[in-house]
Amino acid sequence: MEEVPKSVPLRLKAMASGDHPDPDLLAALAEQALPERERVPVLLHLSRCADCREVLALAIPPAAATASPSLDTGRRSWFQWRVLRWAAAGACVVIVGSAVLIKRNTMMTAHEETPRTETAASVQNRSDSLAYTIPDESAPSAKAIPEQKAVNGMEAVERGVADKANQVKTLKKETPVLSASPASPPRLSAKVTEPMAGARVAAGVGGGASAGLAYHLEGRFASAPAPKPAPAEAAWQRREKELSQARDTTDLTVVEAPRQPAGSQQATVSPQNNAVIEVQAASPTVKSEETPAVEAGEKHETPGKAKVPSNIPTLNATEQAADEGSGAYMYSLKKTEVTKAAREREAAYSPVSRWTISSDGQLQHSTDSGRTWQPVSVAEKASFRALSANGPDIWVGGAAGLLYHSADSGDHWTQVKPATNGSNLTADIAAIEFTDTRQGKITTANGEIWLTRDGGKSWSKQP
């Protein structure tokens, strides 16, 4: 702070102070109770009189200091913590409320029957950057799905449609949207991601209905062009027809992984008629409570029920819908054959079996869809914070690189110490992701990424 010229304090000291104000005026000055015309002469005297300044300093109570208002009232900012904290609280309430609403809608629609239907118009109504599929309003059934209107993602989809990009945008929301109409054949709206991320289709279908895939993709786009003829739709539609001919029902089953932290579980949607669509359930919205566990081989008529029929030629078809004018609306279904190993995995990967980590780091296992939980002893005094479960293949990680693996649903555990190029994994493990029994990724709290392609036998550290 710049200093005043040295003559200033000298002259201040030399100035005559005049009559002393009485205690009433000093007290009133301290309490900001003096009008300006009286305040000025008192302050002028105080600037000259050291004694009165001393009296004033002694007379002001200590509590007045903390409660003293600022004279700069004109510069009060809206960005004070007092204002911001209420804004933050309000924003949290809005976000939580929206999440609850979305979840409710998802759960409600997941329970309703959605027989397989196909709507050519909806296929034709494609546009780029489809984030959500929305029932075509032109279709009769679309009008009877008021609950879809309530889904918060609808508006986002319409905005994405208007974008005219040529790529599928990765959905921000992981919540699968299931639409159903009580007044019309229920339909499935499936959200898809880029092919490299795997097909993400949450499907729940109930009831016997016509052949074909239990879900269909519909879209309504604000700026969608006029329906296009067959070539783009024909491929997947043709495939659907092929499948439908081989099926009796349109059940799609959801073989759901136990509820786990996001990114560490997988769910498999298995249409009863041998179509397997791999699903990565990244949010807890695909939940066992709402999608009750299904034993392998069982047939269920409500969406989301898991079923693993045998000898099912899995349907995985990957294709990119071509749209001449308005971009792509992509989904991917990849056709593979169900191998014996996959069948065994799916059989063991029963939705009744769930894994979780408690708040105190204890690994827990449920065999009744989460109704009851049993602690699993992995190692003495071990505390975990990350988990990946692929059927019987369980990985758990904790602090300081603590990592255990079980290939038999937790009966036996092996400690794994990832190392590469003389460097060991010693950081706290924050997340474990295994897409299958061989390929996995470990993320640590300090941002390290460790990869394995052989089930943990060897590791590499991502630079």
Binding site: A33, L46, A57, A64
Partner: protein, 307 residues
């Protein structure tokens, strides 16, 4: 209730009206005070603070007073027992707490608060009339604030009296017994610099001068100064910075008007303070404890701080 206040010749009708209006609200009846007595008190206070032709009307001024506390204080000064009961319950302990905050020592706090209490109660009489310091409370600020100020004044007075009464041994300890006499400094303050500085002060607001005095003369911290003015510390910091720059500029301009070149002016401003003429004793004597703490004397109660 006997009144110790100086009689006021006639009470303006507007003050009487205000007294009638506020009589029920201020609790005067509880302490045996009549409407006429209340009107007299209000007129007295208005006469003390309101200049003839003041823009503030007397009724409005009376309404701005802390009437319930004024009534309580005046009733206590008049010896009303009920008023003393209320005063004791509200302020007896507070007097001690204030004393402790001021003196920071238990025994000194008790001594100070007891001494003030005696003055408030009116242990002395004049012409057969009890003299209480509470008669000088006018309701401009709160009664508690007034009590704090009075106690602080008494403490400062006691401190100065104690300083003047230092024993020889104590002077020896403090090193003042054989203090060297003051010598005339080599370089007196340039009269042009004095004048330019005084000129700069004339345009400086009173609050700014107070801040400068508190900061540079009393060595108070920004927090303490902010405390005294009921503002935030950052406000004081900003003001001091602005003041320093403004004063430099104005004094430079003033010295320039008085024939100094810029270089001369800057040299004069930066000259060592110790070289200036400074007779602190004379100046401190001028600012010695006030003979009166009242702007206008109302009676001559004993127990006022005397220098």
């Amino acid at each position: 209730m006997e009144s110790t206040a100086q009689s006021v010749v006639g009470v303006p009708p507007e003050v009487q009206a205000v007294a009638a209006e506020l009589y029920a609200l201020c609790g005067a009846a509880e302490f045996g005070m009549s409407r006429e007595e209340l009107a007299h008190i209000l007129a007295q206070v208005a006469q003390k603070y309101l200049e003839p032709g003041s823009p503030l009307p007397a009724p409005e001024f009376c309404r701005s007073l802390k009437l319930p506390e004024l009534v309580l204080a005046r009733a206590c000064a008049a010896g009303n027992e009920r008023a003393w009961e209320v005063f004791m319950s509200r302020y007896r302990e507070k007097l001690y707490e204030v004393g402790l905050q001021i003196t920071r020592e238990d025994s000194a706090a008790r001594d100070l608060s007891d001494s003030l209490y005696a003055e408030l109660y009116g242990t002395t009489t004049r012409d057969g009339v009890r003299v209480s310091k509470l008669n000088f409370y006018t309701g401009r600020g709160s009664l508690e604030g007034w009590l704090r100020t009075v106690m602080a004044q008494e403490h400062v007075n006691r401190y100065r009296r104690q300083k003047r009464n230092l024993s020889l041994d104590e002077e020896t300890e403090e090193g003042t017994q054989f203090a060297a006499p003051e010598t005339e400094p080599a370089n007196p303050l340039d009269p042009r610099l004095e004048a330019a500085t005084d000129e700069a002060f004339t345009v400086l607001p009173a609050e700014d001068q107070f801040i400068l005095a508190a900061y540079y003369l009393d060595d108070r911290t920004l927090v303490e100064i902010a405390h005294m003015l009921s503002v935030h510390e950052s406000t004081i910091s900003r003001k001091l910075d602005k003041l320093a720059k403004a004063l430099r500029k104005q004094i430079l301009a003033g010295l320039g008007r008085r024939g100094m070149s810029r270089r001369q002016a800057e040299e004069a401003m930066e000259a060592d303070v110790r070289d200036f003429t400074l007779n602190l004793r004379d100046r401190l004597a001028q600012e010695s404890p006030g003979k009166t703490f009242h702007k206008k004397k109302v009676g001559a109660p004993a127990g006022d701080g005397n220098g």
